[in-house]
Structure formats: C-alpha cells, structure tokens
Symmetry: C2
Subunit: 348 residues, 2 copies
C-alpha cells in the first residue's frame, strides 16, 4: 500500500492558506474569504443569518472559487468581473456540505459543529436552501461587476444544470449504497455527478462570464470533470489511509454510511466469494465503526485496492492536465495544472 502523500488540504479540513499553490491563488482566496465574511452580516440577529455565517465563516480552502477565478484568468478575463460568482460557488458548495452533514449525520465540519449539530436538522435544511438561493443571487451580482447579461444567462444555465447533476449524484450514491451495488461504471457516473459537476460548474462559469470562447469553455469543462474525479477518488483513498481524529470531519463517516468507494469496489471485484462476503459484512455491519474501518483497511490493503485506486486518481489527474493543452499559455493555466497535481498529492 502506498502511504499518505504530501500537500494541500482535504475537503473536510479546508484551510485558507495555500502554501503549495502560490501567491495568486492565496490572494484570490483572500478576496473571496473577505466577501464571504461580509455576506449575511446585515441581519445577523436572525437565526438564518447566524447559521449561514456559521457555515461560511471562517471559510475553507475555497477551492471551487479559486477554480472559477483561475478559469476566468485563463481565458484572458478579469477576476474582478467574476468575483461575485466565485463567492456564489462557495455558497453552493457549502449548501451541499450543510445538507450532506444532515444526511451523513456528521457532527463536525471544518473543526467546528456542523450546522445541524448546532442548530438542529430542521433549521439546517432551511440554511442549506438559503445558500443555494444565495449562489444564484451572487451570480446575478456579476451584472454590477461588468459581465454581460448574455454571459450571465449562459452561466446560469450551466450552474443550474451542474446543481441538478450534483443532486443526481447524491441520489445515485444513496441508491448504490442501499442495494450494495459494486458496479464500477455506476460508481464512476456517481463521482462525475456528485463531485465533478460542481468543479465543472465553477470552471465553465468562470470561463463563460469572463468571455471565453466555446473551445476554452469546453477545455476547462473537460479539465474540471477529470479533476473532480481525481479529487474524489483520492479522497476515497484518504478516508482509509489518514489517521482518525486529525480531521475536522470524523473519518468514520464513510464506514458509518456504508459508502461504496473505489477501493472497496476494486477489492470486491477481485475478491473470492468469501472475500466478497467479508466486505459486505463489514460495510453493512453495525459494530463499532472504528473497528470496522480497521478491518476494511486491512482487507483493502491486502487486495492492493488502495494502490490501484490511487493510480486511477492519478490517471484522471493526467487527463485533467492534458485538457489544458487547448488553452493558450498563461500563469493561470500553469496553476490549474498544479491543482491537478496537488489533488492527488495531498494527505488530508
């Protein structure tokens, strides 16, 4: 088994500093973080605003906003024009985290209580809804920063479709887990929808709003799709390799929710009938999740499934990087390439 690897931050413990990603993304993240910290402040007396501020601030590593901004820059556009959309991308992402934490019954997020743990499930449902609407409110704000209405409507279409795809992915994941379906194609479809769709929404939205042509928008969409798959599959591997407790998000979440991840699917496909039974038993069991996780890690390690899954993630990362060839040479293109490398070279 390959050991945990190097830089970056996982989705669960997102951080604002980007030591490995350089000064420009850190500056862009700072702009987005400042805007997020002002958002929902005007009526902070209200329960809804308190929940939204709790969910948004302090912000995570802001990967989706940075992707959106770098995509705008990579097509020769202006980051200022698309800044509200970048803020919106984070609102949409955080909305999905708020609802995910209800579904997964996770009490911690980014090292602090999840919204449903602090405010209750009912209120957290409403907070997530508000953040979805806020994503679209933010998109409309790009009119004031100079995006054409033609471009905003094109972005609206992309973002709405990607949001629906995200839901399709979450729902498909529930279906696959429910019926213990170890089908590889179904899993890959699920990852494309659940994780890669929002990455694609961010990149295409940034490129569209910034005036990118069809080729550029297509290339960045292709990049984001592959990056999202690389990111999610690497996350799948990390959920078994990183140490319990080093994360804001408890890393027994996958085992508690019986999640079918790529290492599990690969191990299952290669297993004997007895081996398959052992995998389904540990996934469907109701014993201590920490012990069940340890048993599953042992099975996956013996099968070489963690290594194989990590290889698959790297393959997607390579495809993401290749997609960037259709763009002209810019510092943003180089940084987007760096993100694809970092996505499969991080240990949390």
């Amino acid at each position: 088994m390959r050991g945990p690897v190097t830089i970056g931050a996982a989705d669960g413990t997102e951080q604002r500093d980007h030591p490995a990603l350089g000064a420009v993304p850190a500056m862009l993240a700072g702009r987005v973080a400042d805007a997020l910290s002002q958002r929902w402040r005007e009526d902070q007396q209200s329960l809804l605003a308190s929940m939204c501020v709790h969910a948004l601030v302090p912000s995570g590593k802001l990967f989706r906003p940075i992707l959106l901004l770098e995509s705008a820059l990579a097509v020769g556009g202006d980051a200022e024009v698309v800044l509200p959309a970048a803020v919106g991308a984070e609102c949409g992402h955080v909305a999905s985290l708020v609802h995910d934490d209800i579904i997964d019954d996770d009490d911690l997020r980014r090292g602090r209580p999840s919204v449903q743990h602090k405010f209750g499930v009912d209120n957290a449902i409403v907070a997530g809804d508000a953040l979805i609407f806020d994503l679209f409110a933010a998109l409309a704000e790009c009119r004031a920063t100079g995006a054409s209405t033609e471009r905003i409507v094109a972005a609206l279409e992309v973002v709405a479709r990607c949001g629906i795809d995200l839901c399709r992915g979450q729902s498909l994941e529930a279906e696959l887990c429910e019926r213990m379906d170890f089908d590889l194609d179904a899993y890959l479809t699920m990852v494309r929808l659940k994780t890669a769709a929002l990455f694609m929404g961010a990149c295409k939205c940034g490129a569209l709003l910034a005036g990118g042509d069809e080729t550029m928008v297509g290339a960045l969409g292709e990049y984001a799709l592959n990056l999202g798959c690389a990111f999610q599959i690497h996350d799948d591997v990390l959920s078994y390799t990183r140490q319990t407790g080093e994360l804001g998000k408890p890393d027994t979440s996958d085992i508690r929710n019986g999640r079918l991840t790529l290492p599990v699917i690969l191990a299952y496909r290669a297993a004997t009938p007895e081996g398959r039974l052992a995998i389904t038993d540990v996934l469907a069991g109701d014993g201590d999740p920490v012990l069940r996780r340890a048993e599953l890690v042992s099975i996956l390690t013996r099968a070489g499934a963690l290594t194989d899954a990590a290889d698959t993630a790297r393959e997607y990362s390579r495809k993401a990087i290749a997609s960037l060839d259709a763009l002209g040479p810019t510092a943003s293109r180089d940084r987007l390439r760096g993100f694809a490398e970092a996505a499969v070279n991080r240990d949390r």
Copy 2:
C-alpha cells in the same frame, strides 16, 4: 365565528380545475401541468427523477405559475415567452413543500404520501435541492422562448432574493415558535417572508420577463405581497375551521408543530393571564393533537379571534386589489383581482 366560505382550493389540497377562476387560468394551468408532467421524465429510472415526478405530478392548483403568467399578460406580454419561468415557479414552490414536509413531519401532501414519507428524509432533502436548481434551470430556458437576457438577469435577481426571503421566513417562524413569541409585527414579517415572498417572486418575474416597466413591476409586487398575506392568514383561519380529514395535508399539522398563527396571536393579546396560560399550555402540550386542536378552536372562537383574523385577511385582499389600479385595464388584471377575492373566500 364566521363559518367556512366558498371557492378555491387551499395549499394543501391543490387541484387542477379552477371552476371559479375561469377558462383562461384553467388553460394556462393546463399548459404548465403538461410541461411539468414531461419534466424529469427523461431519466425516470433514477431515484432522483422518481422523487421529482412524485412531487410534481399530478400537479396542484398551480397558483404561483398562474400568477406569473397573468402578470406577464397584465403588462401586455406573451405567455409563451414566460412559460418556462411559470414551470420553474412551481418547481420552487414544490421544493419548499418537500422540505416543509420533512420539517413538519407531515406524511401526506396533496392526498398522497409526502416525498420524505415515501423515500425517506435523506433522499427528500436531495429532491428538494434538485427542484430549487430546476427552478433556475427553467428560468434560463426563457432565453429560448424569446425573453431578453437583460430581462432574465433582472428576473434571476428577483427570484433569488425571494427565495432567500422564503428561507428567512421559515427560519423566523421556527424562532418565534421556539420562544413562544406572540409579537404581532414579528408574525406579519414572517408571513411576508414565508408566503408572500414567493407570490411576489412569481408576479415580478412574470412582469419583468414580459417587458413590464418599473411602475407595472412595482404594482404587481405590491399586489403579490398583499395577496400572499391575505392567503396565508386565511389559511391560518382555515386550519381551525375546516374539518379533519377532508384535506390531503392532515390539519393537525399546525397544532403538532406549535405554530403561532394570527388567530392564536390575537387571542393571546386579548387574554387574561389565565387565558394566556391556557393558550401556551395547549400549544406546548404533548397530548392528542386532535383534542388539543379542539380545545384551541374553542378558545379562539370565544375570543372572536377567528373572525378578527379573517377580517385582517380581507383587509390585505383589498390592499392587493387596490395595488392593481396602477395597471392598465386588461382581462388579466380583472382575473388577478378575482384571485385576491377568492383567496379569502375559500373553504379549503
């Protein structure tokens, strides 16, 4: 106490036929219902599509889509241009119903199992999210039917803001119920946000997309705000006057959820300290909701609070009708006036 009144259908038991509202709204509702019945059909094998179809079809009385379409007609616009947005208005409304039914633990909606009752809470959260995204996907479709991108972005802004207001209203309602706050102004703010905001979103969206000028859009917004308050307050009254079991939605929902409605607030304000204690006891109690509802109805009737609340609803209805004076005379304006009358003259 004033007895139950005449025409129309309540939010809970929405029906497609509009015998009292005339042929044009019925035709418009038919167009929207047909479009809704086609929506989400393409991948109906999936869990998500099954849930969305279950929630959307057969459709309810489609009041918000009709408001949107009539608003477009009332400013001299073309219903065909705004039809996708009307479909979107229903998607947004149904999204809020799907999430409301989770929050209120209601098992029935429109005479059939609520989404969370049939598919589970986790899946229902995702289905509601998808329908919010679909609202915006539908709005973007107005580009293909001939709306200018300038108008679509203006509508996007209004719809996103109204969606946030809806969430503010739901969250404020939870706060007021939680702390048993009988403040009248806070209640009226909550109604404006929770119910009237989506009505306003529908009317302003229709008027904007159809090319209405600022005066027209403002007048229709004012109309919708007052109509929404009239509608919600009349609903508050109906929840105590209509008979158990005649509804798709069980009408013990308000009492089970300790909801602070206008009749309760008016009775509380006029009550002696002992009377107030009786009201808080019945609201916060955990006995049989049917018995508690009967006791509350008795208190409200003796206090004259149901009559007073019905009068308040009629006052809002009159204000809604007066707002329409700023529009030129059209058949749609007459029908919008009729809706405001019908909103406070329905017995379910």
